[in-house]
């Protein structure tokens, strides 16, 4: 199996240390390694985890459970990291979800239940039901990685602006 890479992003708006801990846990790392993901890139945002105190914008490298891990806090654009990854594990921000799915990547999404008025779960669950991604809770991340079958995921449709144009055409009397 050729070496594969996973990318974990917790987002830039709110911290999500629970997800960081879950993926950097031995169980999840072993699951990644067993599936052939020997490299893990991590965007960790503003974290308070004591282990990650030295993480900044300059990548900090470490190795655990046979996985090479690279951690940094923020970048202005994640598209290069998403493109390089074979698997993305992400918080459930809808913008990130659409970006990842449109780049054709396998995606495991973890809604942050600590957020107030959390409607992140809505879109994660709806897309999971349509099999465009896997949505799971923080404690189930290792299992989701282990059970992941990327061939069962349904590709997300490309952008098609025609319906929106139709709505405006209706308003303006073109049709």
């Amino acid at each position: 199996m050729s070496p594969r890479s996973a990318f974990l992003t917790v987002g830039a708006t709110a911290p999500f240390d629970a997800l960081l801990s879950a993926v950097l846990d031995d169980d999840a790392l072993r699951a990644l390694r067993d599936k052939g993901y020997t490299h893990l890139e991590v965007q960790c945002g503003k974290t308070q985890l004591p282990d990650l105190a030295q993480v900044s914008s300059a990548p900090w490298h470490t190795q655990r459970q046979g996985v090479d891990i690279s951690l940094w806090d923020f970048k202005s654009s994640l598209s290069e990291d998403i493109k390089r990854a074979d698997l993305v594990i992400s918080h459930a921000g809808s913008g990130t979800i659409v970006d990842v799915l449109r780049l054709g990547k396998a995606l495991i999404v973890v809604p942050n239940t600590a957020l107030l008025h959390n409607h992140q779960e809505e879109v994660a669950r709806a897309l999971h039901e349509r099999r465009h991604l896997i949505s799971c809770s923080v404690p189930d991340v290792a299992r989701a990685i282990r059970d992941l079958d990327t061939s069962s995921l349904i590709p997300f449709p490309a952008f098609d602006g025609s319906e929106f144009q139709t709505i405006l055409d209706e308003e303006m009397g073109f049709i």
Binding site: G161, Q165, I167, L168, F174
Partner: protein, 215 residues
């Protein structure tokens, strides 16, 4: 006594006029077919920052440039990031208009009336016609959050006065699957088209139209 009668009379007139204007617009048929196939429609787009900006830019990116031109991007005070992101879609004639925020993120609702009115005073100039043209063009596209309510209120004030106004199109975010956003709930009776992207939302408002995923 006479003063009271005058005041009551004015209030009644205002209410009647407002009700009539609202009724006329709710019943308005689509515009007649445009007389000239070469005329383009001017679209102004409100960029609500963050995911709202992303979705709004995506929606207009797919528009036929021979029919639609973007007259203006409207952004909230302090949101320079949205302006940067809109630059690739901005033509030389595209205006970038800044308006005061109606509500900051997580601002307590009890303090909103004050910021709402400040925003209203700072936004009303957008609906005042100049040389017979409305600065907002033919279509005003919105997708949240709260400052859209101010824009919508300004458009209705203009309609009350009898000035030309754009058609207001509100597209609820792709992230809203089972529940409407607060601005969506407030605006749904007051925009000309209220579009939702998930079928479950179609039943949440009688003004909602489900047209599938637009982003």
């Amino acid at each position: 006594m006479a003063a009271l009668a005058v005041v009551l009379g004015l209030v009644l007139l205002t209410i009647t006029r407002a009700g009539y204007v609202y009724w006329i617009h709710r019943k308005s048929v689509r515009r007649v077919a445009r007389p000239s196939s070469t005329s383009t429609c001017a679209v102004s787009v409100f960029l609500g920052s963050g995911g709202h900006t992303t979705e709004a830019l995506q929606l207009v990116a797919g528009l036929d440039g021979s029919r639609y031109n973007i007259r203006a991007f409207i952004f909230s005070a302090g949101d320079s990031l949205s302006v940067q992101r809109a630059s690739s879609l901005s033509g030389s004639a595209t205006q970038l208009i800044e308006i005061p925020r109606a509500r900051r993120v997580h601002q307590p609702l009890s303090t909103v009336p004050r910021t709402f009115f400040l925003s209203l005073f700072g936004t009303i100039r957008l609906v005042v016609p100049r040389a017979g043209q409305t600065p907002l063009g033919d279509i005003l596209l919105m997708n949240g959050p709260g400052t859209c309510v101010v824009l919508c209120a300004c458009v209705w004030i203009a309609r009350f006065v009898g000035w030309p106004t754009p058609r207001m199109v509100y597209v609820e975010s792709f992230a809203r699957v089972t529940s409407l956003s607060l601005s969506g709930k407030i605006l749904s009776p007051f925009v000309d088209r209220f579009i939702v992207q998930w079928p479950q939302l179609a039943s949440r408002s009688r003004f909602a139209e489900h047209r599938g995923w637009l982003i």
